[in-house]
Symmetry: C2
Subunit: 205 residues, 2 copies
């Protein structure tokens, strides 16, 4: 590779980066609103709950107080629960009492457990001392209509203005997508499980 | 709503859940391989890095040792860095020395910074004492060819068999997708930034 070629590549790179920086700077200058946001992660791909827990870590790094309610999951211990329960002064952590719904096969019991978890979640959404609320797998409870989506969107609308809320789970209902500020659909390109690999600690659990 | 109607709905729910449980149980029974996995999160949506940091938290909950290298990001402090640096015995945390490439506009400096970060990453991929390695935003460095993807896939193939690796960033190259066990594409449905809302601490930072 000749010096001339390098110089040309460098010049093109600089020009491309200069244009990119101008675009990014302009976007940043126009994004001036400071308020709590509602983030929804949905789709069938791996990463929905883990992105929620990543935002919990990020929030704790800023000295924020965090509330977590895990819906549906509950019959087995997870790494995220073991970890974040180490910070009881900063993280208010709740897990719904029952296991996955296909483990219980009892709709009435599932509805009761989901409603009890939602009561805790709603109290967090009324508490201005909680900076970020993670409602992990809430979308599943909404999909099965264990909880009314109208109650959820009403509680989101009435929450403290600077509070952030992260809601995860496949099949987010359209009403929730409408109410959210940021929505990501996580799609499977490939998954280790399909190749016969067990759910791995630290990754899925 | 009559009791008869409730009973019918309950019976249908039980039958649907029974079939679902059978399917899930069968899949779990067939997924028996225990080994380290390579997870790649890519696409333009929000959640790629945060899902990586959620897996770090999950891994720490299981008592695992973790290595983190953040590529590209480096000119501003992030919540995830402030948080995970609190656990120096369990998390080996490195951030590449330079800011986003469109802030530096100097390809040669970017290449050198990326190569230095890759040297640290590669040593983690050779260390069986590290259970999970997060290479945050590596995909961007691969996209700009600051680092050769062939070197990365070779290091992944030669790593300790039980070590998990999580690689994030938009535009994951096809060679990396081929080498991965689990790949999620995170797509934007909507983003608060487009509505003029600043990047928020605890969410994006």
């Amino acid at each position: 590779m000749s010096t001339t070629h390098d110089d040309g590549a460098d010049a093109r790179h600089r020009e491309r980066m200069r244009r990119k920086k101008a675009l990014v700077d302009d976007k940043i200058a126009r994004a001036t609103i400071e308020r709590g946001v509602v983030v929804v992660t949905t789709g069938n791909g791996k990463g929905k709950s883990s992105s929620g827990f990543g935002m919990v870590a990020r929030a704790l790094g800023h000295g924020f107080k965090v509330g977590v309610v895990q819906f549906i999951k509950g019959s087995f211990a997870t790494g995220e629960e073991a970890f974040f329960r180490r910070f009881p002064d900063d993280v208010d952590y709740h897990v719904m009492g029952e296991g996955y719904t296909w483990e219980t096969q009892d709709r009435e019991r599932d509805v009761q457990a989901a409603q009890a978890a939602w009561t805790i979640a709603r109290s967090m959404l009324e508490n201005p001392a909680i900076d970020l609320v993670l409602l992990d797998e809430l979308n599943i409870a909404l999909k099965y209509r264990y909880i009314d989506v109208g109650q959820v969107t009403a509680a989101l609308a009435a929450r403290p203005p600077l509070q952030h809320v992260v809601i995860t789970g496949r099949a987010a209902p359209p009403e929730l997508v409408d109410a959210a500020d940021t929505v990501t659909e996580m799609n499977v390109v490939k998954h280790a499980f399909a190749a016969g690999i067990k759910a791995q600690k630290g990754i899925e659990l």
